[in-house]
């Protein structure tokens, strides 16, 4: 059952990932954004299979909810009619495919050879939100506070960049 779900979600993730970057029917960024939402939701399914329930919820809330809405807003704000007509150059496509495929083969070969995870058994009740929260507010309290500072800086930067005349 779990294996079936894993293969289903993995195939869905990779298929939608392909459709994000190279949709054969349209070059419209809105379609890419929609398939990115599907990718993120199926990744959340993989997180559930890994017993990371809190992260699955955050993934859907923050990525599929907030980030993708931001993406869609910006796509709608910009007039992208002219962009659609441009095609991927064949030479760039072949070279990019060779580079990315080479790196993928290399990394998969390393994973196969390293025997990563052989003999490791997943714990039965790991990844509960309670443990995660405890770790976050004790051992990782300082990074947690610093990340709020990062969010503040990002907010100020966004407001400044969105002003009409940058001075």
């Amino acid at each position: 059952m779990q294996a079936c779900l894993f293969y289903l979600f993995a195939a869905l993730t990779l298929l939608c990932g392909v459709l994000v970057i190279a949709n054969p029917f349209t070059r419209n960024p809105v379609t890419s954004a929609m398939f990115l939402v599907l990718t993120i939701v199926s990744l959340a399914g993989l997180f559930v299979l890994l017993h990371a329930f809190f992260l699955a919820a955050v993934q859907i809330l923050v990525y599929a909810g907030a980030v993708m809405v931001l993406f869609l807003f910006v796509i709608m704000l910009l007039d992208l009619k002219e962009e659609e007509r441009r095609k991927i150059k064949a030479g760039a496509g072949v070279l990019g495919l060779a580079a990315a495929g080479g790196i993928a083969l290399l990394m998969i070969a390393v994973i196969r050879q390293s025997n990563a995870g052989v003999g490791l058994k997943p714990a039965s009740a790991e990844g509960s939100t309670l443990d995660l929260g405890k770790r976050l507010f004790t051992d990782y309290a300082l990074p947690f506070e610093l990340i709020s500072l990062v969010l503040l800086v990002a907010m100020i930067g966004t407001v400044l960049l969105s002003k009409k005349d940058l001075k």
Partner: protein
């Protein structure tokens, strides 16, 4: 069917990462390049979560939590930059952004 182990998750993560890399290399629209960056970040998240689960250690999940936060702020700033750039140059095509070249 063999039981799903760490290696299965890592292979999915590698493939997703390389899809994102391919998108960055091939596509010429800044917004789609940004989406490909998100794909790469998500691939890293998947690998970290899988390590966390199979090593019985929650640190990986906490790093994923931080990565999601940083990615959200990165998207906010990046999209603001893209909007500012579009206002100035009226394009989201990377090959038209050659102001530093000449």
């Amino acid at each position: 069917m063999t039981p799903v182990g760490l290696q299965h998750y890592l292979v999915v993560s590698v493939l997703l990462f390389c899809l994102g890399l391919l998108g960055v290399l091939v596509r010429r629209n800044v917004l789609v390049i940004y989406m490909s960056l998100e794909l790469m970040l998500n691939a890293a998240n998947l690998a970290l979560t899988a390590f966390s689960r199979f090593n019985n250690n929650l640190d990986g999940q906490i790093i994923v939590f931080f990565i999601i936060t940083v990615a959200a702020s990165e998207v906010a700033v990046g999209l603001a930059l893209i909007v500012a750039l579009y206002r100035r140059r009226h394009t989201t095509h990377v090959e038209d952004m050659t102001a530093l070249k000449n």
